[in-house]
Amino acid sequence: MRVAESLNRALHEVLAEDPSVRVLGEDVLDPYGGAFKITKGLSSRFPGRVLATPISENGIVGVAGGLALAGGKAIVEIMFSDFVALAFDQIVNFASKSVSMYGRPLRLPLIVRCPSGGGRGYGPTHSQSLQKHFIGVPGLAVYEVSPFDDHRELFGEMLALGEPCLLFEDKILYTRRLFGDGVADDLFQYDLLPGSGGVTRVYVDDPGQADCVIIAPGGVAHRALAAMRTLLLEREISCLLLVPRRLYPFDVTPLSPLLERAGAVVVAEESTAGGTWGAEVAHQVHSRLWGRLRRPVSLVHSAAGVIPAAAHLERDVLVQDTAIVRAVQELLT
């Protein structure tokens, strides 16, 4: 099953199991089923609970906040995550504030789905990874889809949280296969790191024997895997990949023993550098493991610039597996 189908199936199950959930977004109705088909079949199966909206991102997220305020649950699709900038006010100033600014906890079950990332030639305003702009907002959880994850469980966790959640879905994953049975490929296996609240670990034989740990969100997982393959086969360097389900709030504690044992940590993400999720993770690692690392945590980002439309130019800007290989090698020399 591909990741797009897995997300679609998860939404079908969520709507079937919980009649209080509604889905809103632009062009989400059948037969189109959303720009990436993640909402396909929903409007036919759940008439009245799936709403096609005008092109009004701030308005749609506000409506979703109102549905949640009135006792329902809402899942919003932002067609391209770049457009979530238009809903910044409703997310940061209303939804995330409302869970606490009225002096007592208020439940606001609300998910904003954000198809993000480049690699598909959509150009500067349809390819960005804007996660970093939403990191560190109290009352706002940031998640990212991973090809290792159980997406039904993911939606369940977000709705149960009772707080607004942003879910970044790297578009490059939609057509990729969902991993299953703990097997990533012929070299790597994966499982959930016990006690980590949804961090997948990917490794060769023993997760405790890695030379380096790579921490990366779901959208970068394939590039990290490709880098790990190169490093293992060509340099005999073994890496452990950690893919967290939730980017914020993020607690590095359950990862610490693995990071300490390796002593070398790379964080890779597709965003541009500066005020990033990776920097937040690195700070936590430094605070906890300072003196027990061989070198400071190495951050891997895309180049500081717009994301060009042409494939060859886009490739030059976005994080590739080669950049991760380079970062690991530099860290270990």
Binding site: G48, T53, P54, S56, N58, G59, I60, V61, G62, V63, A64, G65, G66, L67, A68, L69, A70, G71, G72, A74, D89, Q90, N93, F94, K97, S98, S100, M101, Y102, G103, R104, P105, L106
Partner: protein, 303 residues
């Protein structure tokens, strides 16, 4: 609606209506007084001169209706709950505060009443609530108070578009006091609010009257139609803010302020004996409230 003589406004009201108007007036006067003494932090936006709007609307609303208020919301809150203790405790951060002192003057949630401090932000949220009500609680409506300045925000139009498309039970009450903070409406609003509302196919009513009975008579059938599925209603009150935007920031000329004061419902000559009695009662009650609330310990916060 034709302008009525100012004296008629207060004289034709029941003791209850007049008492509520006076409670809001004296509550906010006391707030400005407390602000001057340094007992109110931050800022406070008073609705002096506009109190009759929420007082007129109060009996048109059911307790199941949602009310969304804005930065200038003390009158909206008091007209709904008649709870000066909880509101003053909220504004001064004392025990018994409606929201533990976290929200303050501009961010209050109590039952189906919610205020936020950002212009226009509440309209998409009210639209979402109205969507829920349309399907889950037919006959119940969401009402949002906004100012004339709020019509500069794109969120207003996104919300009106959806509310009209989906025929939602939403009432948008605009308190057009002719000035957005310090900017005259004529310098920040092209065209008219009525034309903007009608452009979305919303029903619209402009209200010049300051007489609660007249306002209620005009609005009752329109509210009823909104409850019955006729779609959103936009009401524009031509009103006058006789105080500053917040505190000490009134840049209007003496003549403009005098013009606003000329439209105050509060009689300058002291009014009738009944008015004088209710006025003294409200003033004394607010003094009791303030004394009691300010003697309370500081608020703790929950959760």
């Amino acid at each position: 609606m034709p302008e009525r003589l100012l004296e008629e406004i207060t004289e034709n009201l029941s003791d209850d209506d007049l008492g509520l108007l006076l409670l809001i007036r004296h509550f906010e006067r006391k707030l400005l007084d407390l602000f001057g003494q340094g007992l109110v932090q931050g800022t406070t936006h008073t609705c002096l001169g506009q109190e009759y709007v929420p007082v007129a609307l109060a009996p048109l609303l059911d307790e199941r209706d949602f009310v969304f208020s804005n930065h200038r919301g003390h009158g909206h809150y008091l007209a709904r709950f008649r709870d000066p203790y909880g509101l003053l405790a909220e504004i001064t951060g004392r025990e018994g505060a409606v929201c533990g002192g976290v929200g303050g003057s501009q961010h209050i949630l109590s039952g189906r009443y919610l205020s936020t401090g950002i212009q226009g932000e509440s309209l998409p949220v009210a639209t979402g609530v109205a969507l829920h009500l349309r399907d889950a609680e037919p006959g119940v409506l969401a009402l949002a108070y906004v100012g004339d300045g709020t019509w500069g925000e794109g969120a207003v139009y996104e919300a009106l578009n959806m509310a009209a498309l989906w025929r939602l039970p939403l009432v948008v009450v605009t308190e057009n006091n002719g000035i957005a903070q310090t900017t005259p409406t004529s310098a920040q609003l092209a065209g008219t609010i009525g034309d903007r509302a009608r452009a979305f196919g919303c029903r619209f009513l402009h209200v010049d009257s300051r007489h609660p009975h007249e306002i209620r008579d005009a609005l009752r059938p329109l509210f009823e139609r909104t409850r019955q599925g006729a779609g959103p209603l936009v009401v524009e009150f031509a009103t006058h803010r006789i105080g500053p935007h917040s505190k000490g920031d009134d840049t209007r000329s003496a003549e403009e302020i005098r013009h606003a004061r000329d439209h105050d419902w509060y009689p300058r000559q002291g009014g009738s004996p009944r008015f004088a009695r209710l006025d003294a009662e409200a003033r004394a009650f607010v003094e009791v409230v303030a004394g009691e609330v300010l003697a309370r310990p500081l608020s703790g916060r929950e959760g």
